[in-house]
């Protein structure tokens, strides 16, 4: 156990799984970096955010494969490799780029097993960066996991802590189904205790990160961090908030959420995505269906507005859910 950043936790998970299993390979743009450059090759970057740094040196360019900028070919190649015996971890640099390769994810990888009558295994992991807050503008800041959560055959992982990032990524790599692993760029530098040895965290098991009795607050990815902050803040005012970090949006741990709401009678779901057809909407609909009798107040969600992500930092700050916005909704519900 030692303090590590989210970024380090991810790199460590990749390294340990590559050490454990030869068939784990990494493919993507600049995942090694420097191929063909005038400096004479060698490891140049390890990804734009350095998350695969050092892996090419350790495992060689046969297992850490730089590709052209062709996401359909990257994800498709990884899916085809997964279908035939490798365990590829493909990097989709920014999740916003899903638009140029969605077919290979949703019509191909996610459907193989079903379409082929249960005979396929597709141990594919797509690591990708989500989220706003870095001034990266409308095409590099989106939280696109809701549309992926909707896709049968896919699993969607949204870790909020270094500990979860490592354990869930190792699970993703060992998992025999296609997994989208969403790394929030606003969390890369965040720190936490992370065991040095490999471990897995099962999919579909939410984490209760704060116990409480007055209201249930469900957070996704970086929003879970905000939820904890709000819970700690409100505790001082005597409002007991239970915080649930979903960890994976597919499978979604409805049981833990429902159990909590049955206790608290109130729900707020916090999602960085746009509001319509969001995971927050999904959670709200499940609670309104299956815990209706226990509800003491309307079911609420806090999300980004129905707008693209603006480039201007002041607008981007307004765009994002914040502890203050969440607090207002909670206080309203407590007064209901």
């Amino acid at each position: 156990m030692s303090k590590k950043t989210y970024r380090e936790a991810i790199t460590e998970a990749l390294r340990q799984e590559m050490e454990r299993e030869e068939r784990v390979i990494i493919v993507g743009e600049d995942v090694a970096g420097g191929a063909g450059g005038s400096a004479g090759g060698g490891e140049a970057a390890g990804g734009v955010m350095g998350l695969t740094a050092g892996l090419c040196t350790q495992f060689g360019r046969e297992r850490v494969i730089d590709t052209p900028i062709t996401e359909s070919a990257i994800i498709g190649m990884a899916a085809g490799a997964a279908l035939t015996g490798l365990r590829p971890v493909a990097e989709l640099m920014f999740a916003d780029f899903i638009g140029v390769c969605l077919d290979q994810v949703y019509n191909q990888a996610a459907k193989f097993r079903y379409m082929f009558g249960g005979k396929a295994r597709t141990p594919l992991v797509v690591r990708t960066m989500i989220g706003a807050g870095m001034g990266a503008g409308p095409q590099h800041s989106q939280a696109i996991y809701p549309m992926l959560t909707a896709i049968p055959g896919l699993k969607v992982v949204v870790p909020s802590t270094p500990y979860d990032a490592k354990g869930l990524l190792i699970q993703a790599i060992r998992d025999d189904d296609p997994v989208i692993f969403c790394e929030h760029k606003g969390l890369l530098g965040s720190q936490g205790e992370v065991p040095d040895e490999p471990y897995t965290i099962p999919f579909g098991k939410a984490a209760i990160t704060r116990e409480g009795t007055d209201i249930t607050l469900v957070g996704i990815s970086r929003m879970a961090v905000l939820c904890n902050e709000v819970a700690d803040r409100l505790k001082k005012d005597g409002i007991s908030v239970e915080v649930i970090d979903v960890r994976t949006t597919s499978p979604l741990d409805a049981a833990t959420i429902l159990e909590s709401v049955k206790k608290t009678g109130r729900l707020v779901a916090v999602d960085e995505a746009n509001p319509m057809c969001s995971v927050a909407s999904e959670i709200a609909s499940i609670v309104a269906s299956d815990a209706f009798e226990y509800l003491d107040a309307p079911v609420k969600k806090v999300t980004a507005p129905h707008t693209p992500v603006p480039a201007a930092p002041n607008l981007e700050a307004l765009y994002l859910p914040t502890p203050d916005k969440i607090e207002v909704v909670i206080r309203d519900l407590m007064d209901f």
Partner: protein, 323 residues
């Protein structure tokens, strides 16, 4: 390269099986017994068989298209299982959940028909990556229509295969049409030139000539197995039917398909070549014709008799495990 008698008989059997399978499906479709869309491969048999006869089950892969029956049969997928799948029955190779456009058999290295035009080439280069990494000498063959040749995924797959020197043979089947639109209109320039522009050696052959396809494929496969990277073959092909069954083909000259069946039938071509060269006798092939006819007859009867998939299977096999 001179093929052995066994090789010739095997090739003829596969081509004949495909033809019979497809022509019979047309009859059944007209009778209304086949569900879904149906795209028949009649006329293109020499292409699938010309290359697949040189592939192995365990280490070689193919990626297919919406017009995939011929590719499947050529790669050795069980004909009866296929027929049941097309009928969407319980014992179809995909349990009835895939249907005509999704037949797959991973044990045979058949990565699936694909109802997304241009969907398979990225997957096929992935299988080539597996071959390169885990199955020395293995090769992957995506089949690509003249229409599909325009999809960005195909360009991306060619570039990737070239960059990573993957053991791939891009098998383009230019049958002159994508749905109702001619390749001469929609596919600019030349497919062969496109491959070459990615530094991929490419040749063009007559897809009605089994021997021409076989020879081009032999060289390309050898290159791939030797670790020298991808190749491409553009086979001129002849679609005997419409795009799908039910297509009135108003875009084609009235006699076009009839003329093609006369002049560009790969089975006729094969038969005359091997009999003229005294490699096989008509009787050899007549016997195969009979056997194949019986096989397809059985396959259809069994498919019709097979039960529907169990209701429960609707919910099964979405995931290996969802918890």
């Amino acid at each position: 390269m001179q093929l052995s008698r066994d090789q010739l008989l095997s090739a003829y059997r596969r081509m004949r099986t495909i033809r019979e399978f497809e022509e019979r499906l047309n009859v059944e479709f007209q009778a209304g017994t086949v569900p879904g869309f149906l795209h028949l491969y009649s006329g293109q048999e020499a292409i699938a068989v010309g290359i697949c006869e040189q592939l192995e089950d365990a280490r070689d892969y193919i990626g297919s298209t919406h017009r995939g029956h011929g590719h499947c049969i050529a790669k050795g997928v069980d004909v009866k299982g296929m027929m049941k799948e097309i009928y969407c029955k319980k014992h179809g190779v995909c349990g009835g959940k895939g249907g005509s456009m999704h037949i797959a058999d991973l044990d045979k290295g058949m990565l699936g028909a694909n109802a997304i035009v241009g969907g398979a080439p990225p997957l096929a280069i992935g299988a080539a990556l597996t071959a390169k990494t885990l199955k020395p000498g293995g090769v992957a063959v995506p089949f690509i229509g003249d229409g599909a040749a325009n999809q960005g995924t195909v360009a991306e797959a060619m570039n990737m295969a070239s960059v990573l020197k993957l053991p791939v043979v891009f098998m383009f089947e230019n049958n002159g049409y994508a749905e109702f639109t001619a390749a001469s209109y929609a596919t600019a320039g030349s497919i062969e030139a496109r491959a070459k522009a990615y530094d991929i050696p490419a040749v063009t052959v007559d897809g009605a000539d089994f021997f021409a396809v076989h020879e081009a494929a032999r060289e390309a496969i050898a290159r791939a197995r030797a670790g020298e990277g991808p190749s491409a073959i553009e086979a001129k092909a002849y679609r005997f039917w419409g795009h799908f069954q039910g297509d009135p083909q108003r875009y084609r000259a009235p006699n076009e398909t009839k003329d093609l069946r006369e002049a560009k039938d790969c089975l006729k071509h094969f038969r005359s070549r091997v009999t003229e060269a005294a490699l096989l006798e008509d009787a050899d092939m007549d016997a195969i014709d009979e056997e194949v006819l019986a096989l397809i007859e059985e396959a259809v009867a069994e498919a019709k008799a097979d039960p529907e998939p169990d209701a429960q299977s609707l919910y099964e096999d979405v995931y290996v495990a969802y918890n």
